[in-house]
Symmetry: D2
Subunit: 281 residues, 4 copies
């Protein structure tokens, strides 16, 4: 028997960096973790231990750091495009690249009622994400958000669902709906303002989550995804992944107490998980 190497890729994960953009009137701060994964002609390395075509992942990391100087305020997406192009131009043995970004949010500290020029705090647990991937001939640019925790205490019901022999859930006309929005969308063009596009998509997700009269998390997902496509012509597709973080009303009747949707237990596990991909019609 001979094993066949059907696919392979390698690279560097979790290259962490902080970029300080020193503008005259203020500094700006970016904190990213970057993954770079390459495909290409590496069979000799895998099969025979011949490393002549194998660039160390250490060199990939060095390249990332080196490319991060001199481009004040650059977005993940533009950095990714530069990196991908430069990599292909110097490494003929590489045929496919995927560069992924995950970024933290640092905001200027408010001091005396206005943003301090050079002091920051980490605003939130959310992560802004982006992915630039492709070949020498075709590049896909995606962006998104992870860990945007949202919750609504009204305008959510779950009724009229299918019952099988294991169904014990009671219908609810007024439940808490809680999820952690994970979204990733693809851009139809590279000639856009990636920052404002991302900000607009995030705002739409938040506002529409708040506004929706939800019959299910499935419907809310579709409502969110449709709205992002509608509000943003540059986006071709969007995938959403919404865990249903169940909040259970505590039954206090054994203690002679009424709990009129006041005290809930947030359940860590299990979660529902609702996923879908929407594309422009």
């Amino acid at each position: 028997m001979v094993a066949i190497l059907a696919e392979s890729s390698y690279g560097k994960t979790d290259v962490r960096l902080i970029r300080v953009s020193r503008f005259p009137d203020r500094h700006e701060l970016q904190e990213w973790s970057i993954n770079l994964q390459a495909r290409g002609n590496f069979d000799e390395a895998y099969i025979r231990g011949d490393n002549r075509q194998l660039l160390p992942t250490d060199s990939m990391r060095n390249r990332i750091y080196a490319m991060a100087v001199g481009h004040r305020g650059e977005t993940m997406e533009l950095f990714g495009i530069r990196l991908l192009r430069q990599f292909f131009s110097e490494h003929p043995q590489v045929t496919q690249l995927t560069i992924s970004f995950s970024g933290a949010f640092w905001e200027h500290i408010e001091a005396g009622g206005k943003p301090h020029r050079t002091a920051f705090y980490k605003k939130t647990g959310e992560r802004r994400i982006a992915r630039v991937s492709g070949t020498r001939h075709e590049v896909l640019i995606e962006a998104g958000i992870e860990g945007l925790a949202v919750l609504k205490t009204s305008d959510s019901r779950f009724e009229g669902f299918l019952h099988d022999r294991f169904t014990t859930l009671t219908e609810s006309g007024d439940r808490i709906l809680s999820t952690e929005i994970g979204a990733m969308w693809s851009y139809l063009s590279a000639e856009i303002d990636f920052d404002s596009s991302w900000q607009r998509a995030r705002l739409v997700l938040l506002e529409r989550f708040a506004a929706h009269q939800s019959a299910s998390l499935q419907q809310t997902l579709h409502f969110l995804g449709s709205a992002v496509l509608e509000q943003n012509d540059a986006i071709g597709e969007i995938s959403l992944s919404l865990p249903n973080r169940h909040c259970l009303r505590v039954d206090l009747s054994a203690f002679g107490l009424e709990n009129d949707r006041e005290v809930f237990v947030p359940v860590e596990a299990p979660s529902g998980l609702i996923e879908a991909r929407l594309k422009r019609g």
Copy 2:
């Protein structure tokens, strides 16, 4: 040989709850994790397996849920005081109680430029904490903050330090200073507005971190702690715990590039750790 039971305590940890306060014009949301730990006469249970004085921790959890109804918008501190008093009044075998709170931050989603009445997002990775502890005769009320990540890109130096034979660190007149503020302070009175007191302390920590001309993280700690005591008469003591999250400038000279404090690697481990307790003089 006989083993002596020198100390013991038991209770329930990580009782998670969400409280929805349904005001006419809006809902408010609190998410807490509560620990309750009791000391008292439990030696018969430990030594002889006689459970007659042993209240199940399950009953402690039920009590927490039951007490959470009917007190819209109550703070951690006031909830803790109520719980402690009620517990002592019903359980003579308990002599000491510690009730700890850790809370997440949920904010109203901005929709159409104003806060949505019933929709929320989790604002930040910070946690508001509180602890109510004591005996039938004396109660200590503490509050604080965990995980407030801050970073400054100027006004921080580290120079003139002690050298020993293992010192290789170079002096720096302009370094990044990054930490995650952990603070806990004690109140001199229970007759205060715990929310505004906490908000004021948090604001002082942020503003002073931004403003400080830092000669070391030790000095910054003292500066922050002193300011909290100065700005808030109700606070008697404050303990601060500040990890030094080192951000190392990447040396790109091997590639013919200058990195003028632009690209840094945030180091996960090890960290410095600076701690101190300040009290009113």
Copy 3:
């Protein structure tokens, strides 16, 4: 514009259960986390909020618990096959199912030199994983391992690699090689002993990792994957994911000390990441 629902799935994640198999001479213990994800005709729910075809994920969880009684010692794979078949037979609206398992390792405690009948300890951080997925017509059975941390202090070199303008890594004829084996393989048949097959694959991975004269982690991956295919006719394909957990020799020359491959810093991030899929030739 109309958004098109290109794909969707939903289900329950992280359904945790402990199964105790009470044999006459001993108990056996399994601890699993199960994910169940379904595809099918749910467009009405997503698009119009019509829940009539939507089975609550709560009912999926109940079914998992209900099916877990009465099958002492059953493997993940057989449980998954039963669950998938039963689900399809009762739910015509479902067209595709994926059921994933992640299991902890509990071993009998050795007491007085032999395994205690009913007392266990958690042996390791590894997870045994399995996945049963497919349609009414075709089912794929996969199994694997996650988090198997291994390290070798000899027989690993990394030399003769490609250099580019960012390469600073020095060649090494004797380095530490450390990784956390992640592997997933597919079975060609459902008529095998899944436990012994899994045990054999795990043993091959460990023994071959130990034995290999490694020229790179890429080569080690190929060596491990080929061996699993060779030693186990029931396996058709194997995917391996190997992070390179770099261990850097500490340079103590500044202190007049030699560090002859004795003291290393294990680096949390970044890691190399080497992945490949091998199939039977």
Copy 4:
């Protein structure tokens, strides 16, 4: 008002190192994370930003690495004692030191039925811990264990407990008992074999947990602690911290199924938490 610096300490946390002891017939592997925290005369640094007595934490880390060469197979406890003495001898401004260790377990891989000389796997999620602390005049040596997850499926009951108005728990004559043993004990002497002492204590904890006819986790804690003191004259005190990882029997009666202690849900939160300190009588 003047703030008074009531206490302070600083140091380095999470200094990670791997030590390879190259014996002629085999290698041995240790992986430690070390914290070093110092107290002393640092008030000028905190209060006035005068760093002349302030040794950088970076130098502390360098010292740890430098001291780790040349002592093959040394235990945490002996390394800690050496480090503490050397630190005090070179740093008069330091008056108190605490050095804490947390170690992973690496075992030789079994290959062809015997331990491979130079290949290892990480055996378990447990951590061996130790702490050496004190002044120039007095040193305390402690050792212990963290994260030793154990579970018993018989010989555990919880009955005859106190009821209050919030008690809903039913008595159980046969429940699952599951915990994660955390233990720390102090040694009466530094002239002992720390490895065999630790191994013996761990064995006693496991065997006694298995053997105990448990009336409560409180009683099991006392039983374990007493046994460690009894079996090991070198140990003066022991503190145990035992979370009660509740495993709830799933009620399947709604589906016409009996669940005779077969399927349980392991509950992540909340846990009971049982703690005590036992000393030699």
